[in-house]
């Protein structure tokens, strides 16, 4: 275990587990926001990522993202986890294996995020195939650009915990996916409402909890960047929540629960790229500021034909973009030890951040659209209108989230001499 620090390793083991929890938490959050007949399907899209994306990451994705390779994409040296062992990963004090596992959890939750754009109509198997390709050709590439020795990193772009690959990557991919897959059949004609706000709140709360590992672990140590990021992850979303309450109150006189759940996500997303680079004071300002573009876009989007169902673009794409740009203005060397922003005399940093905002979303949008078109050539992307009406739980999974069991007749595996009869719950 050459170059490994036990304290850092202990924290990163915990942080990895924390980030993994974010994926089922996201599933719960999303499941609450859809209609009851699509609860399981929506949750299963996140669970699907836990399976197929992890496999793809271990076999190929990690190497494409974090092997040196060229400026655009990593090489194949670490494919099949070749040469990923107990010695410290270059530039860190934690084992290379643990570094790989920690980064895997990011890729998993990011792929799951994209499902928010296509829930309630996309076929499950098509989504699984899409996620595998997406994790390799969109996530791994963007992660390479900012963290794996890619060209944005070389250019000086700062991204602490994933404003480019995770937040803008998922947000603008969701934008493309909503366009290619198309709107739900009843979108814009009938009210399609969340069926369980409690799921949404609990999911958002668990996401916030996991986010302490997401941002707090992105310093790969127990040192000051991690402590700063951890604390900022508490402060920024609290400010977003508060501002959201105020906008809600001014607009409608009531603070909404679904709004609060959304605000938690927006705040966590906003601070993600900047968590280890800005002071706690500026983190609070960022949290407050991040609420505004996302809130406005969430109001505007449902008036369009764009059925980006769970507003991944608003909550992740725009809030991530806000955070990335914020670094360019308010980064402080005394806090991060790396670079100042425009406000502290380093205008060049803003240029590096603008560069990331210009290319990251464009790449995610274009490649996602292309991948979905490609998958669509091989298999249908959408369920039929009839299936969409019945609900994706029964059609895609043969199960119901809220099965009563009434009228169910047991199908015996072989003739056991028992005549099955329907049952009714007392």
């Amino acid at each position: 275990m050459k170059g490994v620090d036990p304290g850092d390793t202990a924290w990163m083991l915990v942080a990895t587990a924390l980030v993994l929890l974010m994926t089922p938490a996201l599933g719960l959050f999303y499941a609450g926001l859809v209609r009851s007949k699509n609860t399981l399907n929506t949750f299963m899209m996140s669970v699907g990522a836990l399976g197929v994306v992890t496999v793809a990451w271990a076999l190929l994705g990690y190497s494409l993202a974090f092997d040196r390779g060229n400026g655009f994409i990593g090489g194949l040296h670490h494919a099949f986890l070749h040469d990923v062992g107990f010695d410290a990963r270059e530039g860190t004090t934690i084992p290379h294996l643990l570094y790989m596992a920690y980064q895997a959890t990011f890729c998993i939750v990011t792929a799951a995020l994209v499902s928010g754009a296509v829930v309630e109509r996309m076929r499950y198997s098509a989504f699984l195939v899409f996620m595998v390709l997406w994790s390799l050709l969109v996530y791994a590439v963007l992660a390479h650009w900012v963290w794996g020795g890619g060209w944005l990193q070389d250019a000086g772009t700062l991204d602490f915990a994933g404003g480019v690959p995770v937040e803008m990557g998922s947000g603008f991919s969701a934008f493309a996916a909503a366009i290619v897959v198309g709107a739900r059949k009843d979108y814009g004609r009938q009210a399609l409402l969340p069926h369980n706000a409690v799921y949404a709140l609990l999911g958002a709360g668990l996401l916030w909890f996991g986010w302490f590992g997401f941002n707090g672990g992105s310093g790969f140590s127990t040192g000051s960047p991690s402590v700063l990021a951890f604390t900022n992850t508490l402060l920024a979303p609290a400010c977003t929540l508060t501002v959201w309450f105020v906008i809600d109150l001014v607009r409608g006189g009531q603070v909404t629960a679904i709004g609060a759940a959304t605000a938690i996500i927006v705040g966590c997303v906003g601070i993600t790229p900047a968590a280890g680079f800005i002071s706690p004071g500026w983190a609070m300002a960022l949290g407050a500021l991040a609420a505004v573009p996302s809130y406005l876009f969430i109001l505007y989007r449902p008036r369009t034909r764009l059925d980006e169902t769970l507003d991944v673009l608003a909550a992740h794409g725009l809030a991530g973009l806000t955070g990335i740009l914020f670094i360019g203005f308010f980064a402080q060397k005394p806090w991060n030890g790396i670079a100042d922003g425009l406000l502290y005399g380093n205008a060049a940093q803003l240029g590096h951040q603008v560069l990331a905002v210009a290319v990251g979303p464009a790449y995610a949008f274009a490649v996602t659209a292309g991948l979905l078109k490609l998958v669509g050539l091989v298999m249908p992307l959408r369920a039929t209108e009839r299936e969409e009406a019945m609900g994706m739980d029964i059609v895609q999974h043969g199960e119901e989230a809220y099965a009563t069991g009434e009228g169910a007749v047991l199908v015996h595996p072989e003739d056991s001499g028992v005549t099955p009869v329907p049952v009714a719950q007392p």
Binding site: R189, E399, T404, E406, G407, A408, V409, L410, V411, P413
Partner: protein, 134 residues
């Protein structure tokens, strides 16, 4: 108040001017039905979720090792009290909204209604089933 209370004793049985329309439809078509009723200007609907069996194919579900056939399918039951001249357009709207052409689309029953009273005002019969602006 001041609403005139009609004596219902004078109304001979079998000469009902009111009908109760009961429709059993697919839950996935419930929104379409509500929409077509709305377009036909039929207001005043009660809706309940029921389970029934109308000869459609059974659905098979599996929960871990347990495989079951769902003999009872979820249905939505609508009850609409209307005056006679509204019966046809209500039936038409129900058919438009609920029909898919597959077995299991449901049924519409029309039954005579002896009396109807609006609780708030005490109005009877036709007035009771004619919506007012709130």
């Amino acid at each position: 108040m001041g609403a005139e209370r009609r004596s219902l004793v004078t109304l001979p049985l079998g000469d009902c001017t009111l009908k109760l329309i009961i429709a059993i439809v697919r839950p996935e078509k419930a929104n379409d039905v509500l929409e077509s009723l709305y377009r036909a200007e039929v207001r005043g609907v009660s809706m309940s979720r029921v389970q029934g069996h109308g000869g459609e194919l059974e659905r098979v579900e599996t929960y871990r090792g347990t495989t079951v056939k769902m003999e009872l399918a979820k249905k939505v039951r609508l009850e609409i009290a209307v005056s006679d001249e509204f019966v046809d357009r209500t039936i038409e709207a129900l058919e438009t909204g609920a029909r898919t052409g597959e077995v299991g689309d449901g049924k519409i029953f029309v039954v005579g209604l002896e009396r109807a009273i609006r609780i708030r005002t005490g109005e009877g019969d036709r007035a009771a089933v004619t919506p007012v602006d709130p």
